[in-house]
Structure formats: structure tokens, C-alpha cells
Amino acid sequence: MSEQEILFMFLKIGIVLIGLLSVTPIMLFVERRGSAMLQNRVGPNRFGPLGLFQSVLDVLKFIFKEDRAPGHVNKFYFSLAPIVTVIPALMTFAVIPFAGNDFIIANLDVGILYCFSIASLGVYGIIMAGWASNNKYSLLGSLRSSAQMISYELTLGLSIVGMIMVFQSLKLTDIVAGQGETLFSIGGLSVPKYGIFIQPVGFILFLVSSFAETNRLPFDLPEGESELIAGYHLEYGSMRFALFMLSEFVNMTVASALLATLFFGGWHYLPGFESLAAHFAEGANTDTTYMISSFFHGLSFVIKIAGFMWFFVWVRWTLPRFRFDQLMNFGWRVLFPIALLNVFVTGLLIYFGVL
């Protein structure tokens, strides 16, 4: 590996890490103001333009609060749990190409499987937090969380089997590259081979189960303020709680990134961005052209992610929480058979040469 490649690797890791960590304050702001606007309120708008610095205050408050552990907890696991929750959340992004196929930290052959296996490690942190808190509510929350995450991981995994079958690869780079092809064209308008067009059922299944995986409403039973107070992070305060919050938002980002990568063409240009990139790259040499096109690829990807993040917030403030038996019924009796059926129908369509 040459010196230049190592430098490029560090640059990519830096972009991903800084991007993922800065998502939290941005999402704090969006969650606050977005929820307010969806409920006909105004939201915090005092500190800074449009209340933008409110999240700075939040972070300062988290930092300056006393880092307190109650007497009845298991100290070792209590302090380990937030770390165990946050590290898998940050690791998952490694195999997602974010601005062209060169911009990927590790191009693994098992790509998407790595994502799921690391994401499912996050449940250990939650169980640890619930158990170490030595508190009935926390334990109930973490038990619910483990049941829910294991149930919905099945659907999550099965929903993308169709995509893997169509593109014949587990590498996310191959899947994204495959989505650049044209599916069909009507007149001058060409529809790309995005996952949403060839696997609409898979998309909905993946969307629903990613909501469940990230413990967001309408599947936030592990937290359930009204029934479990705050679930597994009831005993936590200051930066330890902030790490749980961080991991939730990072999980959201990774889920959105996977949705964008698998079903909305990943880093492929949004409509209009291609001509914009060509306009800026006019008369430039190859390196500059590459940088400009990478920038616009990255921007397209970020906009797609932002759309899904907003969708997460939008759904949170629209739908009520499921009851636990409804949740399990929905996961096992509705989503799981549909996912299996989707795999079967996709296989038939590939066999008869439609896809």
C-alpha cells in the first residue's frame, strides 16, 4: 500500500467518522424543530439563528452534568454498556460507498452481511445496560428490545435477499454500480435500475424492519416512556446517556444510508446533478474533474440520507406506539411470510428472465 493510499484511507475514515458524529447535534435540532413544526408549534428558536445552537447547549449540558452511577448497579457493565452500544453503530458504515466506488473504507466481499452482523451486536449493549441497571423497568425494556431486534433481523435480512439475487453480489459497490443501469426509458426519460423499482416490496419490508432495528417509533418499545419510563437507559445520565442517544442517531444514519444504497442508487447522481457537475468540471484536468464528480456524488448520497432521516422523524411524530403482542404478531405473521414470498417471487422472475 503506497503512502498516498494510506493518506486517502485516513481521509475517508475522517470524513465518515466526523460525518457520523456530527449527525447527532444536527438530528437533535431537526428532531426538536421538526417535531414542533409537525405539531403546529414553533420549537426552540431563541439561541442562535433559528435556534440552531440549541444542540450546542444540549451537548454542553451533557458534558457538565455529574457522571453519576446509582449504588445498586453493577459498575463494570454499567459503564461498559454505552461503549458497547456506540462502537458497532459507528463500525457499520465501513462498507458503505459514500461518494463513488473508491470512497469506501473496506470493500469486503461479504459487504451487506458485515453490516447486519455488526448492527446486531448493538443489542448486546442494550441488554447489558438493562441488566447492569438492576432495575425492573430497565430489564423489561432490554428484554423487549432483544426480542424485538432478533425478530425483525430475520425480516431485515430476508428483505434484501431479492436485491442480492438480482445483482448477484454481496458487495455494496457492485449493488450500487448495478443500479446505475437503465431499467427502461419512456421517451427521453430513462428510469434507472434502482432497488425501489425492481424490489418495491423488499423496500417496504426493509424500511419497516429498519425502524424496528433502530428502536424508533412506532417500534420504540424498549424505551416506551409511558410504560417503562425510559427503558434500558433509565439509570443513565450525562455523557453515558448521550452515548446511547448518539448510537440511536448513528443507527438511524446507517439505516438511512443502507436504504439509500440498496434502494435509491447510493451515490448515483440525483436528477440534474450530472449536468451541474459537468458545468463545474468544464475545462479542468482529470484530477479536478474526479474530485468535483466525487463531491457531487457525495452530495447526492447525503441528500438521499437526509431525506430518509427526515422520514424517520416524520414517522415518529405521526404514528402511535405498537402494543408488544401486536409488534410480535406483525413481525412474525405478516412481515416474515411476505419477505419469504418476496424471495420466492423474485427467484421466479429471475428464472423466467424478467429481472
Binding site: L38, V315, T318
Partner: protein
């Protein structure tokens, strides 16, 4: 009570209903009027009948009150305390006129009982205090929120 509901065929696929719900929230966000009143800049308009902070009406700088003691008599919270005195021109006037703002229940009976239209309740509702305040006569004579 568990009500038996028969969802229609399309309602069983949550997708359509969820999309409708999302449309409703988005419509609210884009088009509905904000319910928030941003307090220091905007104020809520109360009815003129609103019973807020007390004041004693004055005519040419002299209070209307003749210390007839009707308001402390009628006051259900017993928060008005008057000491009557006599002016140079033999007219009765309140030497002390105190209202215990913590005891007052803002029923407005003093306002109704007053024969001289002296004690009044204004529209002012920002009455938070840092101490257990008793409104003195000087304070009440300042004509805050005179109407």
C-alpha cells in the same frame, strides 16, 4: 372496553393508512397556523372582563376610596386590610390599603362591592414575584392597566 372493529380490506395493509396519516401531519406542518404565542414579543388578548392585578382608581391624583370597608367585608379570602383616617377637610380616606397578593383569589367581589368605583382589577397577568408581596397603597395608586 375492547371495541370490536372491522377494518376494511385496504386498511389491513397498513401502508395506505400510514401514508394518509403522514399526509395529515405534513399538511399540518406546511399549512396550519402555529398555535404558539411567543410570549415576551406576543401577548395573548384576554377579554376586558379578565381579573388581573389590582389598582385603585384616582381622580385628579386623589384616590376614589373612602375607606367604607365594604371590600374587606365582602372579600372571601380576607386579603384586604384597610386602616381608615380623616383628611383636613373631614373626609374619610384609607391611611393604609394593603392587599395580600398571595391570599387574593381574584374573584372580583371587591370590585363589585365598591360604591365609589375605587378598587379595580386590571388586565395585567404578569404578576410573578420573588417575595411574598403585599401590595401597598402607593403601589395600588400607580394606575397600572387603568381602563
Amino acid at each position: 372496553m375492547l371495541a370490536e372493529r372491522k377494518p376494511g380490506f385496504w386498511n389491513k395493509f397498513y401502508v395506505v393508512e400510514i401514508a394518509r396519516g403522514l399526509a395529515i401531519t405534513m399538511k399540518n406542518m406546511l399549512f396550519a397556523k402555529r398555535a404558539t404565542i411567543e410570549f415576551p414579543e406576543e401577548r395573548r388578548d384576554y377579554s376586558p372582563k379578565f381579573r388581573g392585578q389590582h389598582y385603585i382608581k384616582t381622580v385628579n391624583g386623589v384616590e376614589n376610596c373612602t375607606a367604607c370597608m365594604l371590600c374587606p367585608t365582602v372579600c372571601p379570602a380576607e386579603c384586604i386590610h384597610i386602616v381608615a383616617g380623616e383628611r383636613e377637610d373631614k373626609e374619610k380616606y384609607p391611611v393604609k390599603f394593603e392587599i395580600d397578593s398571595l391570599r387574593c383569589c381574584f374573584c372580583g367581589m371587591c370590585e363589585e362591592a365598591c360604591p365609589k368605583d375605587a378598587i379595580k382589577l386590571s388586565n395585567i397577568y404578569e404578576m410573578s414575584q420573588q417575595s411574598r408581596t403585599v401590595y401597598e397603597k402607593d403601589f395600588l395608586l400607580e394606575q397600572r392597566g387603568n381602563k
